[in-house]
Symmetry: C2
DNA sequence: CGTTAGCACTCGCACGACCAGAGTGCTAAA
DNA sequence: TTTAGCACTCTGGTCGTGCGAGTGCTAACG
């Protein structure tokens, strides 16, 4: 930001008009339409000239000769970065968002799930929320609860109030004492470690050490160690994929499929998100910028949410590149803020 | 079953041919095609006459005059009940299924999730698995683990090795002793009760009693009681919805949407499934039989899976009415059996 | 020199005509 | 009862046409 590239004011206003109009109508927009609908005080002919220039510099493109123009990826980028006027979230929506987040039970997973649903509903696009796991957080302790004979509930407790549980079957029955023993040992080795540091190499070491130390059968220890691996923990909740089917750009089923497949594959979605999750503030990723084939027709508006300044996760909206950026950016920002607040209240005792 | 409605053999074979052909080609099938591809030893003209009869009795229908015929809902029903020859699951698939189920970690949820994925992959349709909760099972005990200040992990342990956990925030900090107290009380009241009996009325009673007994602030108790409600527990895992988009019947996006919406709405999906989940054996529900608008173009093949004869959940496949029933029925049956076996080994100590 | 009016030109698309192909129902003969 | 033959129907694809929207260019204008 800050840097304003050279573009004279009239061009800027025309690019704005084209983009706004195309976002609303999904139809290529011509000089006549602009002259009629937006009063720039100039004739269609002038607008035509300017549009030709804008096309030359890559901000607009023509689906085919003598149709109107539509914004190119570069055009959207410029629009998002320098032109668009953010549309504040309406009071009514603010209220609804706050209410939904408040009223939700005190369970984090449900809150997150509901957030995704709400975001999809309000944006009318697809939404996702990365469940909170603070890479900056720390491990606190582990508890092992015998459930019956050979089943043990592994409970991982992390920094600000996160809990993950895994049910594992062990090969040999372990006594409550033995389990407490292991739990204490693991807790002592892992406590206060930032989650980001708990790499598989460390786990291997610990596992080896644990075997020496306790003489337990490896399968048992293995099961516990495995449940320490965090990969799976950063779960993605998504909702509203079907909303995308309403968009004219996805009427063609093969286009719809490529983006729906993206959401169906946890892996793909996760790899996609991991690119932007670290960045502070609202990030807008347009079309091929995401570097993912299924996203070439889509844009993504994404923001991290924080608890006491520490980023805990991220959420966002996926829609066609022809997205209501000005509305969605503020929406995503507002929801992220509020989810952060709610989680702060849940987590920070 | 058992009852064989009146239909002479030739009609039956023609209905079979039409259905088989339509299932394979997705094109209305005419008398000529049948005469050519299936040697029934009669001419197209004869077949035409028979087909006209079959249409009169409602087994076939014509999309429009002088296109071929396609099976009606009634036709599919007859085909499924009396005509089709089940196609055994190939050895290779058997192996793959067994391997996938074995190799999966010992966590129930992951196993179930993976089962849905596998079933979708093998059937090339959409698949779902209802996570195991035995209505016939019994409650065993509850544990309350303090996580920090005001956060408590509620751990519900059920009959054969199921565990559900909920993280709840309480209004007032409770000591470990107090929690143990509550847990013991709740366990004593609920232990050995069949899950199907734990109705909300009972929970209300217990809650009242607990308040008297412990003098705890209601919000706390409320939170715990709420996590006892089982509704949410019967979770549905589904996968492969995008597979449906490959089917020619869903090329029209509005048709695709109605069924995708079904899967997106947990509620709808659940209400749909609850209808058939109780039935033993493989159930085939065709089109409007499901009584759900979004399903009118779809069929569902569903089977319960059992642990030691007790039904624990169900799984199934959803595809177009023009589904490869003969393949899917055996597949669903086989997977249900094997999932049951695997769970038996996991659960029964 | 920037702006604008006018105009010829280009496409895409919707519409209608047309034909080929597939399939039917009916009738009459085997 | 089955079958061959035939007239008829309907869909889907192809082709041509005209219309409308929009452009680029040129020349005139302030």
């Amino acid at each position: 930001m800050g840097f304003q590239p050279l573009m004279d004011d009239r061009k800027r206003r025309i690019l704005e008009a084209v983009t706004d109009d195309y976002i609303n109508t999904a139809e290529p927009v011509g000089s006549r339409t602009i002259a009629r609908r937006y009063n720039l005080g100039v004739s269609p002919a002038t607008i035509r000239n300017e549009m030709a220039d804008l096309e030359d510099s890559g901000y607009l493109e023509q689906p085919h000769t003598s149709a109107g123009r539509i914004p190119s990826q570069k055009g959207y980028r410029f629009y998002v970065d320098f032109i668009m006027k953010l549309k504040p979230v309406s009071d009514e929506e603010r209220k609804r968002i706050r209410r939904t987040l408040e009223q939700k039970r005190r369970e984090i997973d449900l809150t997150v799930e509901e957030t995704a649903r709400m975001l999809a509903h309000l944006s009318r696009y697809a939404a996702f929320v990365l469940s909170p796991i603070s890479r900056a957080g720390v491990f606190r302790r582990i508890e092992l609860l015998p459930v019956d004979g050979q089943t043990v509930l592994v409970i991982l407790i992390m920094d600000p109030g996160f809990v993950r549980t895994h049910l594992v079957t062990t090969e040999h029955a372990l006594t409550r004492q033995q389990l407490a023993h292991i739990a204490r040992f693991l807790s002592s080795r892992l406590a206060d470690l930032p989650l980001s540091r708990i790499a598989s190499s460390l786990l291997r070491d610990i596992k080896a050490e644990l075997e020496d130390y306790t003489n337990f059968i490896d399968a048992t220890v293995e099961a516990i160690a495995r449940s320490l691996e965090m990969r799976r923990e950063e779960q993605v909740y998504s909702d509203g994929q079907v909303n995308l089917l309403e968009q004219p750009e996805f009427q063609d089923i093969s286009k719809a499929r490529s983006v729906l497949e993206l959401f169906a594959e946890d892996e793909a979605l996760y790899s996609l998100l991991s690119g932007v999750v670290g960045d502070p503030g609202v990030t807008v990723t347009i079309g091929r910028e995401a570097g993912h084939p299924g996203m070439s027709l889509c844009s993504m508006v994404c923001a991290p949410y924080e608890v006491r300044g520490v980023p805990m996760g991220a959420l966002g909206v996926v829609g066609p590149t022809r997205m209501h950026y000005s509305r969605v950016v503020t929406l995503v920002e507002f929801v992220a803020e509020n989810l952060g607040d709610v989680l702060t209240r849940i987590l920070v005792t």
